[in-house]
Amino acid sequence: MAENTQAAEPASKIDLPASVGGEAGGIPSFQVTAKIARFDPERDSEPHWEEYRVEMHGTDRVLDVLHKIKWEIDGSLSFRRSCAHGVCGSDAMRINGRNRLACKSLLKDFQKNPTDPVEITVEAIKGLPLEKDLIVDMEPFFQSYREIMPFLITSGQEPTKERVQSQADRAIFDDTTKCILCASCTTSCPVFWTDGQYFGPAAIVNAHRFIFDSRDEGGDMRLEVLNDREGVWRCRTTFNCTDACPRGIQVTKAIAEVKQALLTRTLA
């Protein structure tokens, strides 16, 4: 078989004189030590830590580290990612002890100087059944999501044009429309870690999105669901969810607004 002798394509097809290009403005590279919690359900009874050393650049993210490991060192490393640009919410993981999206965590945010070595620990999000490496079973999370009925509920005739809403009415629930269902908030909640029965911040955020929508008429039913023993009243306002949200949703505030709506509905 013929040896592959083709040279790598140069970074630039234009020959730059040394006075123009050079080191100035170049992207710094550095050593990354990634400690990753590995778990193979067919062999391991518990996850264990494995260390990988890779050379990365200042523009890389934690997701690029995982890609480099999977593509060049150990192909058995498993993790979820889809769009890789912070929109789909597939790659939520616990990075250096905090829930983040791997595709939105820049390596340079973990170092002081641009060439410092970086140490990161990556593990699966907590509180959901672990399936393999960084992949968890999201079913309990989505079951809570389905239970709060995340769809428009109306009565009467369908209008022949769009359902009109004022900008002020839209602004009331604007924050909670940003949720991408990555489960960062729910799996950072200590109450959810206990037994996984608590509805969790994500379900409440998505209920909030419809409860406070002036076009929706199912708010009462959703409030009834969240008045459950495992509903909003289990929130201890630790603000872990607000800190974890990669979309910057004020999660704890949304939960407090649902509590308030329940109180006024019951007492007034």
């Binding site: 037994d195 029965q197 109180l263 019951t266």
Partner: protein, 145 residues
């Protein structure tokens, strides 16, 4: 022959069936309201007992007997006892629910908690209402000789 049924890989999470109960809402609201009241009651208690007059040096049997001769302080102390006990019990209940994972552990800890609270509340209420200042050795002018 019927087709074999394939069981679900994991049993789903079961919600409580007690729908329409406002207990958790009431408990949450009670914690806030009793908290505000307790701040007033406890600081009033501390100021009257330990700051006004001779301060801590005034507290003895006669001082307590004098306070409980007035219905005002009886009701004050009764309110403080009940609110503090219910507030504390509900707080510990939520801690048990948050941290105990096994249902049997939860149940055991809750039973112990409720029995302990009940004993303290009943005993305290009994003392406030049946308090008799005229025990042996008490030297008050209104006591029978």
């Amino acid at each position: 022959m019927s087709a074999p049924t394939i069981p679900a890989p994991r049993t789903g999470y079961q919600r409580s069936t007690a729908k329409g109960s406002n207990f958790e809402l009431a408990a949450w609201l009670f914690m806030r309201l009793s908290g505000v009241l307790l701040v007033i009651l406890i600081f009033g208690h501390l100021i009257v007992n330990m700051w006004l007059g001779d301060g801590v040096h005034q507290i003895d049997f006669a001082f307590v007997a004098g306070k409980w001769a007035s219905p005002f302080w009886q009701i004050w102390d009764l309110l403080m006892l009940w609110l503090a006990m219910l507030h504390g019990t509900n707080g510990v209940r939520t801690v048990i629910l948050d941290y105990a994972e096994r249902p049997a552990t939860r149940m055991t800890l809750q039973v112990v908690l409720y029995i302990a609270s009940l004993v303290v509340v009943v005993l305290g209420t009994l003392v406030i209402f049946t308090f008799d200042p005229c025990i042996a050795g008490a030297d008050f002018q209104f006591c029978p000789a």
